[in-house]
């Protein structure tokens, strides 16, 4: 690998603009704005919204897995905790939605921090099992604490968030699925922005150091324990918020939605997209949410697709979609070079 730059086909300034994160942000915002106008039926709008939720979950996991290097299989637990906590606060205690959302996030962060205390002392495999155990325990509690959660019967008729009234503007009513999508997508965008800023700051450098080699990271003054707890707390907080929104979007809550397979699903999205890139899991989430919709006839076997995708990616393209994109662009550049050389 030489460090000299290959001759540019596209002028450097234009390339920089195309690749700049501001451009990407604008593109994403535009796409989000346009989607509910393209999909006007309930079914596809719901898919888009679930997609946005999965994006948030995936980038949250990537923060812990791809950057801090911790294999956390407990995301389903935080997702479920957030969903049930906020719903119960709203339906049983009459707490306003936005306050309940904050409460749910706080609870999930706390749970994440507790799980992280295991991560501090355990190496990869142990942590995977501990987090899995955590997910199982949470699921069983949700399933069996019938007086609180109504168990397998579930909680029904969960209202969407209350309409937002800003002075001078018409009320934003969330019974409208388009508006609900904007809310969830805005949340996903915000989460991405937060994580992106963190990752490019010295905190991100510390997490990457922890992922690469904890011993030498400590020799540089990095307190591995504290930063692992931080990564877990942020990641689980995002999952908890996503859970709260999930309840509003789907309207019903059953424990089975938060079975441990959900953790594996999110893992598949991260790995297929590209671990440790933050952008990759976005594509992975979108792909894996939308792909089963196009493979009609396979219908209910979403999980089979995820399993195959995950396995294939690990074997042939461990860097996921991002690695594939880089290879493809490198190939294209070489082809273009050969063209111009003639």
């Amino acid at each position: 690998m030489s460090s000299s730059e290959p001759p540019q086909i596209i002028p450097a300034r234009v390339q920089a603009l195309m690749l700049s994160r501001h451009m990407a942000f604008v593109c994403a915002a535009l796409t989000i704005a346009v989607l509910p106008l393209v999909f006007t039926d309930t079914y596809w709008r719901t898919i888009c919204t679930v997609c946005a939720l999965n994006v948030a979950l995936a980038i949250g996991l990537d923060f812990v897995l791809g950057y801090a290097g911790q294999l956390n299989l407990g995301q389903s637990a935080f997702y479920g905790l957030g969903a049930y906590a906020s719903t119960l606060l709203v339906t049983k205690l009459g707490i306003p939605f936005w306050v309940a959302l904050t409460g749910a996030i706080a609870l999930s962060c706390l749970a994440g921090a507790v799980l992280a205390l295991f991560a501090v002392r355990l190496r990869g495999h142990y942590l995977a099992i501990a987090s899995l155990g955590f997910a199982v325990i949470t699921y069983q509690i949700l399933l069996n604490w019938i007086s609180l959660t109504q168990g397998p019967l579930g909680i029904y008729a969960i209202p969407p968030p209350p309409a937002i009234v800003l002075p001078g503007l018409p009320a934003i009513d969330f019974h409208n699925l388009g508006n609900l999508f904007y809310l969830v997508a805005a949340f996903a965008l915000l989460s991405y922005r937060l994580l992106d800023q963190l990752v490019r700051s010295p905190i991100g450098e510390a997490l990457i150091a922890i992922r690469e080699d904890e011993v030498s990271a400590a020799s540089l003054g990095i307190n591995c324990g504290v930063w692992k707890v931080f990564a877990f707390a942020v990641s689980s907080g995002i999952a908890g918020a996503a859970g709260c929104l999930y309840a509003s979007v789907v309207g019903t809550l059953v424990p089975d939605a938060f079975f441990v397979t959900e953790s594996f699903t999110i893992l598949a999205m991260v790995v297929v997209g590209g671990t440790g890139t933050l952008v990759g899991p976005i594509y992975g989430a979108i792909l894996l949410t939308v792909l089963p919709e196009f493979l009609r006839g396979i219908g209910d076997l979403r999980l089979l697709i995820y399993g195959i995708a995950l396995t294939l990616v690990v074997f042939f393209m461990p860097g996921g979609i991002i690695q594939a994109a880089r290879l493809a662009s490198g190939l294209l550049q070489r082809l273009a070079l050969r063209r111009t050389a003639r």
Partner: protein, 277 residues
């Protein structure tokens, strides 16, 4: 958080104070007494070497000093601060940095990113700017990258800055580890077998760098097998064997000490240097 200290702008000093005092260090692993009652002082500004046959406990000693292991007994005092109970990452803030016998770089990121990671204890950014990058964040990033480039150039790696650390040659990786450790602006830099695997040219360069560091006021503690290097560069040498203190003194004294010759050198100190590839 201290401001960045450029490498070559410090005047040379002659210091006679004691920078690090280790007393009565003991460390046992299961049935093996790896370190038994070792005490020594590292004078400020000196190049202090620790030598001994394989398995003598040199790396264990380094691990005790840097905080990877806690001593079963004994104390470690740096600049008047008792480090004995502090964890490894805490000690860095007091000015200890180290490299490792088996190279421990962050292999999947670039050389310059490795060095930048070393600035962890020296950032000067208000907390909110970690989330919303403002002017202080930008200034800090510029400063870090500038100084990282200077450190890389100091260790001869300026043209390798953007390569993945894992793809560098063995010698370059050793230099990078030192550059990264230097990023913490240590007053005591401990290097574990820095010349292992270096060819003649690289070892020469290492010698030269050690000299510049010493002239700029960094104290160095060297664990090394390469006797040529040690004799050329060390001010004081501590010889240990089977985890126990054998001798401490200037290079010429060490050469003449019969016990050292017997235990370690086999009486043949004037052997032409045998560099590892």
């Amino acid at each position: 958080m201290t401001a960045a200290r450029p490498i070559d702008s410090m005047p040379s000093r002659r210091n006679i104070g004691i920078l690090l005092r280790a007393q009565g260090l003991h460390k046992r692993f299961g049935g093996v007494q790896a370190v038994h009652d070792i005490s020594f002082d590292i004078p400020e500004g000196a190049v202090f070497a620790i030598i001994g046959p394989n398995g003598a406990g040199k790396s264990t000693l380094l691990n005790l000093l840097s905080g990877i292991y806690r001593p079963d007994a004994g104390s470690i005092v740096l600049n008047g601060v008792d480090l004995t109970k502090l964890s490894a990452h805490h000690r860095v803030r007091h000015g200890i940095a180290r490299t490792f016998q088996k190279i421990r770089l962050f292999r999947h990121i670039s050389a310059i990113d490795n060095v930048v990671a070393g600035f962890h204890t020296r950032h000067d950014i208000p907390i909110w700017q970690y989330i919303i990058h403002g002017p202080a964040w930008r200034r800090d990033r510029e400063r870090c990258r500038d100084e990282a480039r200077r450190l890389l150039a100091f260790m001869g790696l300026e043209r390798r800055a953007h390569l993945l650390a894992g793809s560098l040659s063995y010698g370059e990786q050793r230099m990078l580890e030192i550059a990264r450790a230097l990023a913490t602006a240590p007053c005591l830099l401990m290097v574990d077998e820095p010349a292992a695997g270096l060819n003649a040219a690289e070892a020469e360069m290492l010698l030269d760098r050690v000299d510049v560091l010493r002239r700029n006021g960094t104290t160095l503690c060297l664990v090394e097998h390469n006797m040529d290097l040690v004799m050329k560069v060390a001010d004081q040498i501590l010889v240990i064997d089977y985890g126990q203190f054998l001798f401490k003194g200037a290079p010429t004294e060490v050469q003449r000490h019969p016990g050292v010759n017997a235990a370690y050198l086999g009486g043949q100190l004037h052997e032409p240097s045998a560099h590892c590839r």
